[in-house]
């Protein structure tokens, strides 16, 4: 079982380039459309000056999974942290536990929003909807190993420092 999971594990993650995001929220709209009207990207308001999407990092040791009292949050076969809709009771424990504020409080059908990294697209070789739709090229879907080592990377975000990055 373990080996089957590791074979299928997707090690790419969404990274936001702070220098490119215009705050247009097209990523949120794409998420909204792709998830039946529930937006799993939280708009992060930076001191009244900017709005940037806050996305789930699918942590290796996920605080949200630990906090969930019903086991609704779990790690699935590709390594993503997902939410079983039928088990979610909308208690918001995950929302409080997430250190990044990646789980918002927009309850649709009484369940909390949780990014599934658009697993339907990713397993087919695509990129998550928000990344594909991003109007500025601020969002990219990259190998975590490649990104974490770079000096620009800070907890799921990068500052581009004058380089061009493409989705």
């Amino acid at each position: 079982m373990t080996s089957a999971i590791s074979e299928r594990k997707v090690t790419k993650r969404i990274v936001l380039d702070l220098d490119r995001c215009t705050g247009c929220r097209a990523c949120g709209a794409a998420c909204h459309v792709g998830h039946h009207g529930q937006t799993n990207l939280v708009p992060g308001v930076v001191a009244d000056a900017a709005v940037l999407p806050v996305h789930c990092r699918h942590c290796e040791h996920a605080a949200c999974v630990e906090a969930c009292p019903t086991g609704a949050l779990y790690r699935e076969e590709h390594g993503f942290v997902r939410r079983a809709e039928v088990l979610c009771i909308g208690c918001r424990s995950c929302s409080f536990a997430c250190p990044f504020g990646a789980i918002g409080d927009e309850f649709v059908r009484h369940v909390s929003p949780k990014c599934d990294l658009c697993v339907d697209r990713v397993v087919a070789g695509g990129v998550p909807r928000c990344v594909a739709s991003c109007t500025s090229g601020a969002l990219s879907f990259v190998e975590l190993e490649e990104t974490v080592g770079t000096p620009e990377y800070v907890g799921g975000r990068i500052r581009s420092r004058g380089t061009t990055r493409r989705a």
Binding site: D19, R20, T22, G23, C24, R25, A26, G28, A29, A30, H32, V33, G34, G37, T39, D48, A49, A50, G126, V127, R129, A132, S133, C134, T135, S136, G137, S160, G162, T163, T164, R166, A167
Partner: protein
């Protein structure tokens, strides 16, 4: 949609799949901008199956209630009433106004129908877009246009006038590619208030609110004085016109000093592959035509390419199609003129194709004008304030439900196929026009369309003195307005809203704008908010004579005092505005509006 299916800047349609079951895809390998889709574009499929879509023709009965009728009943009645008005009051009493979202073929069809009926009154699009595009034509200068996305992405220096990245989010990738490609690249932004575009400004030229036109004139003056544009034939006349106004006047009106703009002007002139982008200046809506004309002149003098970004999805294509058919006709009326003619009774019948004049023109006038008509026909997809007043509502199709070509802002024609069936009995404009033609003129008439006379459109004028004389007058009026400010009032400026497109009459129905910005917000300077005793999230009432709107507050750190920024597509905000017909432009010119702002007690909205 402002950017229906990437019409404005991308090169592919996002519909894939079976005709009845389309899904949205993102072509990340797409040649244009690699899959980007703005918020409204993402939601475009909602229009196709929207529960409020018109699915059958409706006719107002004797009691004033819109009742469902068959297409043949509606068309017979419209043809009979339109024919009677035309006979009684002449073809000049009939008008047609087209949305900028129509396809090029639809626009041609409507124009040819009008010519068959001898109707001179045909206009398209939103008045601001007409002013923007007309202003460039009116300047009459020869300037290269941005024709390919790479010309933006590879630019070494660029000037963005207005909030172009909110108007056309799909331009963000190439613009930011240019910005970050090399450290020395310049992305200059010019605006009266902070916006999504100005975040990236290097330099971020912050002019006085409403001062973009003066700032562009200042940049043009600095460029000419700096010896640039030696090859342009109108160099001396432009210098004379600007000298007559005086550089000090321009500096004062723009609240910018000549040194602040000089390095960007030099970079635009001296570097290879530079570009100037101009969107409808939300902060400077009063005369977007002047700003656009000056931007075109600056582009010519600095050897930069020009890109005009209208609000309407196919504003360029519909305008071009009408002009090929000889519209706007010198003897005919433009859209805003039709509204004035309706008030005097000169115009008795108006056919609207996807356009809501009440949303397209701010203020109250359109509402009263539509109420005075003897016949109002609205072919549209979703309810709006014009369909509420119409005698006939005809269910139309959106892009994806009909075949057609659309011209993007780069001037490229894009073809969109049929991806899904229209709901109920919704029909294309081709069907509607064909059926009206058959009823009013007989089938043979289509072969007898008179050729348009080869006369210049009413908006075309020779370049030179006219523009600078208008600029001088505009600056004097603006100065008078600014110095005559009543204590306690605030200058109202419009803000582009990324969740709304065009005049907002379609996008307002989509779930994302409602989800994303459920409460329209007004930006107040931090000091003004403190003086009023309000914080972000509180409510304030904005009042102008005859209108008021309640909005949620957002405090804005760098906003000048006594200026408020409100969403330009919000109906309540548009009601606060006033316009007059500009005789040279034959489109609307907004009067600067001062509003009083008062706190609404009773807690947060």
């Amino acid at each position: 949609m402002g950017c229906t299916l990437l019409i404005r800047s991308a090169g592919h349609g996002p519909y894939v799949g079976e005709p009845t079951l389309p899904t949205l895809d993102y072509d990340t390998e797409g040649a244009f901008n690699r899959g980007s889709l703005c918020g409204c574009g993402n939601l475009s499929l909602e229009l196709c199956s929207h529960p409020r879509r018109f699915e059958s023709p409706r006719m107002r009965d004797a009691a004033g209630v819109l009742q469902e009728v068959t297409w043949s009943k509606a068309l017979d009645e419209i043809a009979a009433r339109l024919g009677a008005i035309r006979r009684e009051s002449g073809p000049g009493s009939v008008g047609l106004w087209l949305a900028p979202s129509l396809s090029n073929e639809d626009a041609e069809r409507v124009a040819r129908f009008a010519r068959l009926l001898d109707v001179p009154n045909v206009d398209s699009g939103l008045p601001e877009d007409q002013a923007l595009l007309g202003g460039i034509e009116r300047a009459g200068v020869s300037v290269e246009r941005v024709e390919r996305i790479e010309q933006l992405a590879g630019a070494t220096a660029m000037l963005c006038v207005g909030d172009v990245l909110t108007l056309a989010p799909c331009l963000a990738k190439p613009v930011l590619d240019a910005r970050y490609d090399r450290r020395q690249n310049l992305l200059g932004t010019l605006a009266g208030a902070r916006s999504r575009t100005t975040w990236f400004g290097k330099p971020d030229l912050r002019c006085a609110p409403g001062g973009e036109t003066a700032a562009l004139a200042l940049m043009l003056h600095v460029a000419l004085l700096g010896g640039h544009g030696r090859g342009v034939p109108w160099r001396q006349s432009a210098l004379d016109g600007l000298d007559a106004i005086g550089i000090a006047t321009l500096e004062r009106a723009a609240a910018l000093r000549r040194d602040a703009v000089a390095s960007l002007v030099d970079a635009l002139a001296e570097r290879p592959g530079t570009a100037i982008l101009i969107g409808v200046g939300f902060a400077d809506r009063a005369r977007p035509d002047l700003a656009a004309g000056l931007a075109a002149m600056l582009a010519a003098v600095t050897d930069s390419r020009l890109l005009a970004v209208p609000q309407g999805a196919n504003a360029v294509g519909v305008r071009r199609a009408l002009r090929a058919e000889g519209y706007p006709d010198r003897a005919g009326l433009t859209g805003p003129e039709m509204l004035e003619a309706a008030l005097t009774g000169e115009l008795r019948a108006l056919l609207l194709f996807g356009l809501d004049p009440i949303a397209a023109t701010p203020g109250h006038l359109a509402r009263s004008a539509l109420g005075r008509l003897d016949l109002l026909v609205a072919a549209d997809v979703l309810p709006n304030r014009a369909t509420h007043r119409a005698d006939f509502v005809l269910p139309a199709c959106v892009a994806g439900e009909k075949h057609g070509h659309f011209t993007n802002a780069f001037g490229a024609d894009l073809e969109l196929g049929v991806a899904l069936r229209p709901p109920g009995e919704a029909r294309t404009e081709a069907f509607l026009i064909g059926e009206l033609e058959r009823r009013m003129l007989g089938g043979a008439a289509i072969r007898r369309v008179p050729e348009p006379e080869q006369r210049p459109g009413a908006l075309e004028q020779k370049s030179g003195g006219g523009l600078f004389a208008d600029l001088d007058l505009f600056l004097r009026l603006q100065e008078r307005e600014h110095t005559g400010r009543e204590v306690g009032t605030h200058l109202l400026l419009g803000r582009a809203d990324p969740a709304q497109s065009g005049d907002g009459s379609w996008t307002r129905h989509l779930s994302w704008p409602q989800h994303d910005t459920p409460r329209p917000e007004v930006s107040l300077a931090v000091e003004d908010a403190a003086e009023l005793g309000v914080r972000t999230g509180d409510q304030v009432r904005l009042r102008s004579p005859g209108a008021e709107v309640v909005l949620a507050v957002r405090t804005e750190p760098r906003l000048p005092r006594h200026v408020v920024l409100a969403p330009g597509s919000e109906p309540g905000v548009r009601d606060l505005l006033r316009w007059r017909l500009d005789p040279a432009l034959r489109q609307i010119a907004l009067d600067p509006v001062r509003v009083s702002v008062e706190r609404v007690d009773g807690g947060q909205p």
